[in-house]
Amino acid sequence: MLEDELTVNIRHRDGVAIIDLIGDVTTFAEEKINGAYRQVTARGDRFILLNFRQNDYINSAGIAILIGIVTEVNQNGQKLAVSGLSPHFQKIFRMVGLAQYAEIYQTEEEALSAFKRLGSVE
């Protein structure tokens, strides 16, 4: 009843792999998030956007999962950004230091424009 499933959806726009995270990012989300990351990495995607919804619940276990993604993104020479975080979780991402490794954008469109400047569109 309370083990809410996270829905993970992968899309591609303008040379960016967008991973939509719809639901809660807690310990239950680990396999789905890591699976989505492995999938886009196997395709050779270099620009990755984690697109959250405003009202989600992200706890410290979820933060640990995201730090795991950042670790691999750095090792694989990819670029990671996040969008759609509520002001509270933007603050937490800054406190933890995640914002230094994954640029925070308010919206998907803003993130795509920034990726374009980094060369996501050939």
Binding site: L2, D4, Y57, S60, G68, P87
Partner: protein, 155 residues
């Protein structure tokens, strides 16, 4: 109404099974209470995160996720603050050192276990955080969040 009745009305107690996900009941209850007390939205978000971490710790560590063991959450409403106490049954005691760590993301990159942010977040987000032993011998954390008033009125 007697003083005792008045005081009793200001206490809300939840007894939750030690199963991950039930921390959400405590988060929702505390948030509803804080909203009625007049807390700003950003403080309510901070409270949700802090209480979620406290209850998750109690479930996973203190009670070792044994669903038969209870996590007790007591919310005490005072005119100018909300006090949140979370206790477990202490199957595993919390080491005091664990309650004082300041994790760094660059260290986490090197470790297989990238967690350990919960208690630090609680300390950062709440006005007061204190770890003690629960009356029954388990771990207990007491957190306080102050209702902010205008500086003029405080004088």
């Amino acid at each position: 109404m007697s003083d005792a009745e008045g005081a009793a009305e200001q206490l809300i107690e939840l007894r939750l099974p030690s199963r991950l996900g039930y921390e959400r009941i405590a988060m929702d209850t505390a948030a509803a209470l804080a909203r009625r007390m007049g807390f700003a939205n950003d403080r309510i978000d901070a409270l949700r995160t802090a209480i979620g971490e406290a209850v998750t710790n109690a479930i996973e560590h203190g009670n070792q996720a044994d669903a038969a063991m209870k996590v007790v959450v007591v919310l005490t409403v005072r005119p100018d603050e909300l006090i949140i106490s979370v206790s477990d049954q202490g199957r595993k005691a919390l080491e005091i050192e664990q309650t004082k760590t300041r994790p760094h993301i660059t260290d986490a990159f090197q470790r297989a276990d990238k967690g350990g942010w919960g208690i630090w977040l609680m300390r950062e987000l709440m006005d007061e955080v204190e770890f003690t032993l629960a009356p029954g011998g388990g771990n207990q954390v007491r957190m306080v969040v102050h209702l902010e008033r205008s500086p003029v009125r405080d004088q």
